[in-house]
Amino acid sequence: MSQYFHSIRIDPEKCNGRMKCLRMCPTQAIRIRDGKAVIIEEKCIDCGECITVCPHNAIIPLTDPFGESSRFRHTVVMPSPALYAQFGREILPEKILAGIKKLGFDDVFDLAFTCGEVSFAIQEYLREYNGPKPLISNVCPTIVRLIQVKYPALIDQVIPIDTPRELAAREIKKEKSKSLGLREEDVGIFYLTPCPVKMISIKQPAEKGKSHIDGAIAISDFYGPLLSAMEDIEKRSYRESLKSICILGMGWAMVGGICRTLRLKNSLAVSGLNQVLKVFDDMERGKLKNIDFIEAYSCPQGCVGGSLTVENLYISYNKILKLIETLEFEQIKACPDIREVRKLYKEKYFLLEGKLEPRPLTPLDKDLTRAIRKRKEKEQIFKSLPKIDCGVCGAPSCLTFAEDVVRGDAEVGDCIFNLPQKFAELSGELSELLNKSVIARSHKPGIDNPNNKKDE
């Protein structure tokens, strides 16, 4: 088994090697080999950009199919708050939760409430913390992996509070097994996910051995059935339904939402992987030290922009924003009791179960002297390349190609611009061979005469 589990697979039957993913991948983790895309596992951070860009749907997110819950005696679904932004404005969480339950699950849990608890826990942590700043939110697993791979220097600034989905799953398992007299493993917890990366954070958590969640179902797979299940649910008035919404929890669906609902003044919110890279570069250089907290998401606009959502990300972002504004205006706070949260916080209820460790990429060589030599070699190879990043060799850029060559994963001759040279070498060899054989033949008596051949 490979070292890293990924929630993305490439279907070689469907892949036409069109190189869209090759160019899009922010960590240069894709190569085209024999006309098909392949993923370099240690470089992939599961952001899902390749899934979105592939014109043939050849890149498949490995979520659990809807309806794979029969091995459990009791099933509970927890939707990401991003689900609440996928429908019209009049369809509020209450109705959506009722719809999910109708689809054959034993229970449904409003994760927004736990998100609210964790918002308060973050607030508590920020208050006590006096280490290097800013602290970074760990809600987006892609960002956590990005830090492990590319910014190991920032790893101690990732907030060590567990995510709402993990905390909720842990508590549901405890409660349900107790109240129903079941073993914890008989209670199946399914997360309705806006993105494939949550799937890996379940199969291979970044910091601990095992997740409390049993499966993740794509919001996009769930959408159709849910829409029809909600059709005949009795309608309550808009205002009445607003009363059960935890405003802090709704903030978790979109970028900047945690900071806004907690009213964190000294915070920063960033989304979209390329923008996050810029902010982290600045952070690593020691800038941004006056900022307390950074909310960073790999998907543009936050979880509402996940590749497994249905609604246009700007529309769903706007829906969450409007909902938060309405709740602020109506002064509705169906949120957890902060005193209760403080008590739990003191008991270390919210703390991450393991410790996040860096996951630096394999260097060019284990031996530093050899690595330095290879790095020089890479520079020389790069200088000889056309630097137009055509991708024909199968690498996303000339620079990555040069690296592949020194790592022994590609040959200089794979570059199409080296073809004339390669051709010249080959033809040189060939003519030399021909000459030799001509000389050899001329020593054999009679062979020069075609007539002799006929006689044989």
Binding site: K150, P152, A153, D281, D282, E284, R285, G286, K287, P358, P360, L361, T362, P363, L364, D365, K366, L368, T369, A371, I372, R373, K374, R375, K376, K378, E379, E403
Partner: protein, 146 residues
């Protein structure tokens, strides 16, 4: 030591080019990651090279930054054509800066540049020729923990 065990790269830094400021230190960080330098040393090298780079962007026209990596140490040498530093001792004090109001408005010129380099380097030498330029020599040993 034979030359083949030294990796050397030159970077040109342009003064006043705030939009590209930081690119050189990012490139240096990436090179160090590729050869497998310990992350605690990479942090120190990135901060030192960033501060050196910003010094050029703020005060000089042009500079050459040379990175040398050997199996024992990292060495950064920066030579610029700026005004130099009149009083090096003063410039090494935290909080001292000759930055203009405009630079400070942009969040620079807190007087932490040279002190910050010193803090992150094992050896740090400033050679100033007022009116001609400045050269910085930064060494970080690979087996030290700073």
């Amino acid at each position: 030591m034979s030359d083949e065990n030294i990796f050397s790269q030159r970077f040109e830094i342009r003064g006043g080019d705030f939009s590209n400021a930081g690119k050189t230190s990012t490139s240096i960080k990436e090179i160090l990651q590729e050869v497998g330098i310990d992350s605690s040393i990479i942090i120190r090298a990135s901060i030192a090279s960033y501060e050196a780079e910003m010094n050029v962007v703020m005060y000089a026209q042009k500079a050459i930054l040379t990175l040398n990596i050997t199996p024992e140490k990292l060495h950064l040498r920066l030579e610029d054509d700026g005004p130099g530093i009149e009083n090096v001792e003063l410039a090494m004090k935290e909080g001292f800066s000759t930055a203009t109001e405009k630079m400070r408005e942009m969040g620079f010129g807190a007087g932490m540049g040279l002190p910050n380099i010193k803090k992150n380097a094992d050896e740090f030498q400033v050679i100033s020729q007022p009116g001609k330029g400045l050269s910085l020599d930064i060494t970080i040993y690979l087996n030290s923990t700073g």
